[in-house]
Subunit: 197 residues, 2 copies
């Protein structure tokens, strides 16, 4: 429909998640209308990421070298490992500035319905870390969903016999939220997990 | 926050229109998770567009060479020029398959409030085409907005004295629409522009 290179860019953009044909067209014409150096910088950023980014050999976070910046940081407590589903979850936990341990990225959560069993997640790699890093506690920070909960249960069952403590992030009312708007499941969890004052 | 190359890609993506920080992050991690060749193909599509696409010397449509595919097409009626605001409007008109003339891209519409006067649009370039291409009629297909209407009026005032017919796309009810949902301005235009049966 458009001249070859423009149509090819629209096609590539519309493969991105959440970007339909119309948005892809708008983005392509935006890139056509901005300074050429800006468009090229986006292309370079994608290429650089392909060239430079891989998964950390230890925790499977995104890393610019063999290990990610967190695993390289000697000040982090290596006896504490926070287990997350995806690399981007690490940034969310880091933002709290309350966690000084390391991470382990599973690569997803157990979901038999989607064909994800323990073999597809990085449990073996996590087991291999326990002894060399003298891990004391695993903090399971999978999503508070059925799959995330199942993954947390699995970790508890598999890893507690190996002599590590396994804990799970608390579920309950979001801070600043309104009781009125809490769904019954969340409120139920908040009740079960109530703490004495 | 993220490792350098990942954060740089997120920054570049979030400069795109309609893409906020969260979407940029999701897109970046999507590009990290797909086959490397797919991510590189997007980068290549952007670079190719920068390398190959420029504006048609005649009508300022996007073009892979000196002239766009429409201006190169000898079967198009060169006495008829459809005046549009942006290159992407051409594709919309082309989709009707009812137009066999050429185009002229103004590069926007008159909008004194945004500092766009006649000097910022490609009226002189259009004037220069009249004689060599023996243009008989200009069909003004600017948007049916205040700016688009003002631009159409300006074109009528400037070009009719030069001996060309100037027409404007009809405003009225969208085909398949419901009278109930028509706004009063559109309905007013439909009344004024009514045609005898």
């Amino acid at each position: 429909m458009f001249e070859g290179p423009v149509q090819r860019l629209i096609d590539e953009l519309s493969r991105l998640p959440g970007i339909g044909g119309k948005s892809a067209q708008r983005l392509a014409f935006h890139l056509l209308s901005v300074e050429e150096v800006d468009a090229r910088r986006l292309a370079a950023a994608i290429t650089d990421m392909c060239d430079q980014v891989r998964l950390c050999e230890r925790c499977f976070n995104v890393a610019a070298g063999e290990e990610c910046s967190i695993c390289r940081d000697a000040r982090r407590d290596q006896s504490l490992v926070c287990v997350v589903e995806r690399p981007q979850d690490i940034v969310v936990v880091e933002r709290t500035q309350e966690y000084r341990g390391r991470y382990h990225v599973l690569g997803g959560s157990l979901s038999p319905i989607n064909g994800v069993g323990p073999g597809q997640l990085r449990f073996e790699e996590l087991k291999a870390r326990l002894e060399p890093e003298s891990v004391q506690e695993l903090i399971v920070a999978t999503n508070p969903t059925i799959e995330g909960d199942a993954t947390a249960m699995y970790i508890a069952r598999e890893f507690k016999p190996l002599g590590v403590r396994v804990s799970r992030l608390a579920s309950g009312l979001p801070v600043g939220g309104d009781l009125d708007y809490a769904d019954e499941l969340t409120l139920g969890r908040a009740l079960t997990g109530r703490s004495e004052l």
